[in-house]
Structure formats: structure tokens, C-alpha cells
């Protein structure tokens, strides 16, 4: 790596049903806010993270589209896609571009717009994160695949569902104080377990909601950020890994190998261990992904991640505050934008701008972004 890489601007919309805004309008809104926050008025390249614009908006070529609507004619721009993990992967690509010295400043903007389509259309589109020909053709859904994991986890480790279903309860509590969150209301464990089953044993309130949103980051080399007097946070580790795409083909269903591999690389690059992390953003598209991710990232032994949830060690006041603005479940999960929102939420904490949810003396944050059922995982580590 030639250059130290920093994030020096953030911008985002609230997550929800934006009936009055198009995909491009959301992307432009977040991008302009991030540029304004950074103080830069020009960037050298744009990475647009998005999963389903082709299927849901029948619109591809988002790089040129966003560049056009930002008035940035001529600069290189492209879409980065790794299913629900597109955001983390786009940050990783931006990190590589800036750390190489080739670009000095880039814009990463994540955007997804789901509310224009019916739930069954979105369900089919989301399922394209798995093998369309041999898995999705059977009628399996993305929720269903995570439900297979859930049942296997409870059975193997003898865990009660209550110990895992508590995670969304903690996240909803955090989202109460997050102005950009989709769901700013409290829920109880009883609410979760009495909500309708979507794919047994996964209940509705254990699944991240569908929503629209866009979030953007201005990423630059440290020197540029200094010249521009930016409020910058350094990316000290960035790594991505893949796993066998289909869950059913993995010998160990309960370890997301790509999380293990990407986090080991990112820790090594950053020169830190899990105990040095102050804040965590895990990709909890479904409640079960929280305990598994806590284990695979090195915060709990295999089969014991649920204990951190049961003992509320992941709450704001706990040992390892996790998803401090509500995570995918309560802040929201606009697929391609989600990894960017994770960075935004962590940066609000690291800048001491997290309001009532501020974690004291937060210095190091780890972000985990999952594509598919762990087919791709990116881990980015930020430091203030």
C-alpha cells in the first residue's frame, strides 16, 4: 500500500418507503451530502454499490447514470455488485484504488430502491444472491436458506430461540435514537416470537425489512484530507473473501468461512485483535446471522455467540456494542446501500456525533458486510 486511506465525508437519506424519490434521486441526494460534508467538490472516480437495479428498475449502467446526475462528466464510474454485500465490497474497491495511489479521492454511493415492486418480485430478486439454477429453482427463498442455518444452529448447540431472537429487540432499542432508522419503535421478545413465521423458525421480526435508501462516502488519501481539513477516519484494514456460493454444499453449515478468512486478513492488516475493537457492525439480515458472525469474527467461541446476546454484551452498555444505530433489522437494509450505512453509523460514533447512542471513547470499529448466505464477506476496520 502506497497511501493511507481515510473516509472524509458521509451523506445519507433516511431509510424507508421513498414513494416520491427515484433510485437516481436517492443516490444523488446522499452523494451531494457526502461531498458537502467532505468539502471536496470533485472526485477522481465513482463506485456505485447496488444489487437489484437491473431486476427492480430495469436500469443498469449506474456508474454513468450517477456521474451524469452529479455533473461529473468524464470521470470513471461503475457499479459494484456482491449481492447484499455490495456496500462492503465497494468500500474495499475504493480502498484499493486510493491506497494504490492511482486515484486521490473517490465517491462510493450505495443505493437500493425496493418499494416500487411487490414483495414476491423482490423476494425472487433477492434470491438471485444464491444459485438460480439449482437452489432458487426449487422454490427456496433467501429467508428460507437462513432458516435452514437457524434450525441447524439451535439443534447443534442446544440453543433456545429466545437467546437469538433477543438480538432484534436490542437493535430496535438502539434505533429509537437514530433519526435515519426505518423502525424507530421498541419491540419485546414476545412481539418477536409471536410475529408471523416467514420460513420456520424465522419470524417476521427476525428478518430485516425491505426499504429504500442511499448512503455515500468520500474516500481519499490522508494527505488530501489534511489539505482539505476534513473530519477524517482512517481505514486501517480492508479485506474480502468468498465461500462456496450455495449453503447446501458446505460441509460446515454453521461457519461462514468467508467471514473467518476476510476478518483474519483485515485484523492482520490493521495489526489488531478482536479485543481491540470498540464497536461492531454485523450484517444481521436475519437474527441468526448475529451469533454466527460474532463467532466467526472472533468475539465468541464457536457455538457461544448467542451468549453475548443473552447477556446483553452487544447492547450499547455492553462489552462490545453492536449495530449501535439499529443494524439491518431496525435502522434498515436497503441491500446495496447497507454496507455504506454500516460505515456511516460507525463514523457517527467515531466522530462523537452519535447523540444519545454515543459509545464513550470509541476509537476502533469493525464492519462486516455479507453477500448471499456468506458467499461473499467483506470486513473493513476503521480507526479514529
Amino acid at each position: 500500500m502506497k497511501e493511507n486511506v481515510v473516509i472524509c465525508g458521509i451523506g445519507y437519506t433516511r431509510i424507508g418507503e421513498h414513494w416520491d424519490k427515484s433510485l437516481r434521486e436517492l443516490a444523488v441526494e446522499a452523494s451531494l451530502k457526502a461531498l458537502e460534508d467532505s468539502g471536496f467538490d470533485h472526485v477522481d472516480a465513482i463506485y456505485v454499490s447496488n444489487m437489484m437495479s437491473g431486476m427492480l428498475q430495469e436500469q443498469e449502467h449506474l456508474g454513468a447514470l450517477v456521474a451524469t446526475y452529479l455533473g461529473l462528466r468524464g470521470i470513471p464510474a461503475c457499479k459494484v455488485e456482491a449481492a447484499c454485500g455490495s456496500g462492503g465490497m465497494a468500500i474495499h474497491q475504493a480502498f484499493l484504488a486510493v491506497s494504490s495511489g492511482y486515484y486521490k479521492t473517490v465517491l462510493v454511493v450505495g443505493v437500493e430502491k425496493m418499494s416500487d415492486r411487490t414483495t414476491s418480485e423482490v423476494t425472487l430478486a433477492l434470491a438471485s444472491a444464491e444459485d438460480r439454477e439449482y437452489v432458487i429453482s426449487t422454490g427456496a427463498t433467501f429467508v428460507g436458506l437462513n432458516a435452514l442455518l437457524y434450525r441447524a444452529y439451535m439443534l447443534k448447540y442446544g440453543v433456545r430461540q429466545e437467546s437469538i431472537a433477543k438480538f432484534p429487540v436490542i437493535e430496535h432499542e438502539n434505533a429509537l435514537n437514530a433519526p435515519h432508522a426505518q423502525f424507530r419503535r421498541k419491540i419485546t421478545l414476545e412481539d418477536v416470537l409471536s410475529s408471523p413465521l416467514i420460513a420456520d423458525p424465522l419470524h417476521l421480526l427476525e428478518c430485516a425489512p425491505l426499504g429504500d435508501g442511499a448512503a455515500a462516502l468520500v474516500i481519499s488519501c490522508e494527505e488530501e484530507a489534511k489539505n482539505n481539513k476534513c473530519d477524517a477516519v482512517r481505514i486501517i484494514g480492508s479485506a474480502a473473501a468468498t465461500d462456496i456460493l450455495s449453503l447446501y454444499e458446505r460441509e460446515d453449515l454453521l461457519t461462514l468461512y468467508a467471514t473467518v478468512k476476510a476478518s483474519q486478513k483485515a485484523y492482520e492488516m490493521a495489526g489488531i485483535k478482536p479485543k481491540d475493537v470498540d464497536l461492531l457492525e454485523v450484517h444481521d439480515a436475519f437474527s441468526i446471522l448475529a451469533p454466527i458472525s460474532l463467532e466467526d469474527l472472533g468475539f465468541a467461541k464457536k457455538g457461544e455467540g448467542w451468549k453475548l446476546i443473552e447477556k446483553e454484551e452487544v447492547a450499547l452498555s455492553g462489552r462490545i456494542p453492536t449495530n449501535t444505530m439499529g443494524g439491518l433489522k431496525a435502522r434498515g437494509h436497503p441491500i446495496g446501500a447497507t454496507g455504506i450505512y454500516q460505515a456511516v453509523d460507525a463514523i457517527l460514533q467515531l466522530r462523537n456525533d452519535a447523540g444519545k447512542n454515543q459509545v464513550d471513547n470509541a476509537s476502533v470499529a469493525l464492519l462486516q458486510s455479507i453477500g448471499g448466505v456468506g458467499g461473499t464477506v467483506t470486513v473493513n476496520i476503521l480507526k479514529r
Binding site: L124, S137, T138, G139, T141, D200, I244
Partner: protein
């Protein structure tokens, strides 16, 4: 799914054809050119065993576009007798009767209809092995 896309996969799907790696001995479904476990390119196509057991299962209650008529239905990871895993629907069984470890066997079934003049997709589902009929 488009007609040629469905047609290309018919043999693999109808007959449950997989591949076995001559290097590490593992077999997998569907067949491919490189072993996903050891990277060897020395593979041979094999007809997979038709019996196995349920590793994990779920009930799909919010189906994707096209499957609305069939919901709720069961999806399972099945481990075949030689260790190969497949993902398929379970059929001929009550939702409440399925258990992890349950012995199942492959059966040829309808998957999906594409409207009144479209194709009908077929493939393998798994049903419980009934004692006494188990030969």
C-alpha cells in the same frame, strides 16, 4: 426460467446426476469441471444415490414469484447415502411430521407451471422412506 435454460438442465435434474472427484473422493451436485473441495479437474459424472436423510429444513410461507399457489411448502438440505448434499423440496409429508435425520428418497415431481401455454418444470423432490416399502 426460459425454455432453453430449463431444457439444458433436464438430464442433470431429472436423473440426479452429480460428479465425483477422483482425487479427494468427494461427490457433489450439480456436476462441474473443477472439484469445489480440492480444486482437482479429474472428475467423473455419476448417478447419485436416491436415498438420504434430512440435514435441516424449513417451511416457506412467503414464496417467490411463481410459487404462490404451492405455499406453504417444505425445503430441505438432504445428505444422500454417499455424503453428497442436495437442496430440494420435501413432499408427501405433513409439515409437522418432518424431523432432522428423517430418512428420505428421491421422487420425480412437478415443480412449476408457466401459465396456460408455457412449459411445466419437473425435477426431483424427496419423500419419507416408508418402512416395509424400503427395499
Amino acid at each position: 426460467m426460459s425454455v432453453p435454460r430449463y431444457w439444458r438442465e433436464r438430464v442433470t435434474k431429472y436423473r440426479l446426476i452429480g460428479a465425483q472427484c477422483t482425487n479427494c473422493g468427494k461427490s457433489f451436485y450439480p456436476p462441474r469441471k473443477v472439484c469445489p473441495y480440492c480444486g482437482s479437474r479429474d472428475l467423473k459424472e455419476v448417478a447419485l444415490p436416491r436415498k438420504g436423510k434430512v440435514i435441516s429444513f424449513t417451511v416457506i410461507r412467503v414464496p417467490p414469484a411463481g410459487f404462490e399457489l404451492y405455499s406453504p411448502y417444505l425445503i430441505a438440505i438432504v445428505e444422500l447415502e454417499n455424503g453428497t448434499r442436495v437442496l430440494a423440496q420435501l413432499t408427501d409429508v405433513d409439515l409437522s411430521e418432518v424431523k432432522v435425520g428423517m430418512p428420505v428418497e428421491a421422487t420425480f415431481r412437478k415443480y412449476l407451471e408457466h401459465g396456460p401455454s408455457g412449459i411445466i418444470e419437473y425435477g426431483i423432490k424427496f419423500r419419507p422412506v416408508i418402512k416395509g416399502e424400503d427395499k
